[in-house]
């Protein structure tokens, strides 16, 4: 997948929009989120929703997830191996 940090938007490798990322709580950190038993995802107590860890996901599975629920909250580390930074996508 590709991430444009200027627009905070996530795309597949072939430039399909996955999601425009937006979190209303700018100081929120991964460690602030509660762990979920048996899952690498976490739970946000403010929004009361799961936050999906994307580091092991493929473009296809992310697209499928977002198509099913466009409001799904994602966590993306700019340095994770399956992400490429792109300023022009």
């Amino acid at each position: 997948m590709k991430f444009n940090p200027i627009t905070n938007t996530l795309y597949t490798d072939d430039n399909k929009l996955i999601k425009k990322m937006y979190c209303p709580y700018p100081s929120l950190k991964w460690n602030d989120l509660s762990s979920l038993d048996g899952s690498i995802d976490r739970f946000c107590d403010i929004c009361e929703s799961n936050v999906v860890e994307t580091k092991e996901m493929s473009d296809e599975s992310l697209l499928a997830l977002l198509q099913k629920d466009p409001e799904t909250c994602l966590k993306l580390d700019w340095n994770q191996e399956n992400v490429r930074i792109d300023h022009h996508v």
């Binding site: 991430f3 990322m21 700018p26 100081s27 107590d45 994602l74 993306l76 580390d77 930074i85 022009h88």
Partner: protein, 231 residues
């Protein structure tokens, strides 16, 4: 130990080298230590109520009990911090002259600011030419993107300010009942503050917590980690 503190100090000062967002290392360190001493004190008080002879317990048992209690308190504090975050009001930003004019006409209070691109915010792209096809691709200037094959050649390196805004002025829309000292969330930061720094560029922080001092917002630059994005 002194060197470690010096290193951290230099690193953070460099990261937030901006007049509007200077990292106050001494205050931040004090705040961390105060919090730690406070938790230890509360843990001791809690245990004192449960164990009459707390001070006479064997050192190992005492340490273990104290450690568990401090961890419990830390988790409770974290939950409280989260609860407090959820109560913060969000300040809207007006990005166009029309929006600003309309808000003033409707009697809203605003804080108008110049949109000033910071020279500290820059990204560098490589223009890489495929000699066989003539096609040029643009990639961020990272080690991994440097061509390792004779077929590809860097034809240009371009460094630029990567953000565009619709107007050279913007304004925060102030709630009528905004109180001095109130902590808020600026959902679209007008000030250019470096939020993430990489070899190929620096990026602006797009939103932040801030405290209203009666005239302006004092942006809280502590502990943001833009490299991890949520949304």
């Amino acid at each position: 130990m002194f060197n470690v503190i010096k290193y951290i100090k230099e690193r953070f000062i460099k990261k937030t080298n901006n007049d509007s967002c200077e990292y106050d290392f001494d205050n931040s360190l004090k705040s961390v230590l105060d919090k730690r001493f406070d938790r230890e004190g509360r843990a001791y008080d809690n245990l004192s109520k449960q164990y009459e002879d707390l001070d006479n317990l064997p050192q190992k048992e005492y340490n273990s009990l104290l450690h568990v209690e401090i961890e419990k308190i830390r988790q409770e504090d974290d939950l409280e911090d989260i609860r407090e975050k959820s109560l913060l009001r969000t300040i809207k930003t007006l990005r166009t002259k029309e929006e600003i004019r309309d808000a003033v006409k409707r009697g809203h209070k605003i804080l108008k600011l110049k949109v000033q691109p910071s020279k500290d915010i820059r990204v560098t792209d490589l223009h890489i030419k495929d000699k066989q096809t003539g096609k040029i691709s643009i990639e961020p200037y990272t080690y991994h993107n440097l061509p390792r094959d004779d077929r590809y050649k860097v034809v240009k390196k371009v460094t630029y300010y990567p953000y565009n805004f619709p107007s050279k002025v913007a304004a925060y829309l102030l709630p009528d009942d905004l109180e001095v000292g109130e902590r808020v969330i600026l959902e679209d930061l007008i000030e250019d503050i470096v939020g993430a720094s990489h070899a190929w560029g620096t990026y602006r922080q797009d939103s932040a917590e801030a405290v209203w001092d009666g005239e302006k917002f004092k942006v809280d630059c502590r502990s943001y980690d833009m490299d991890i994005t949520f949304g």
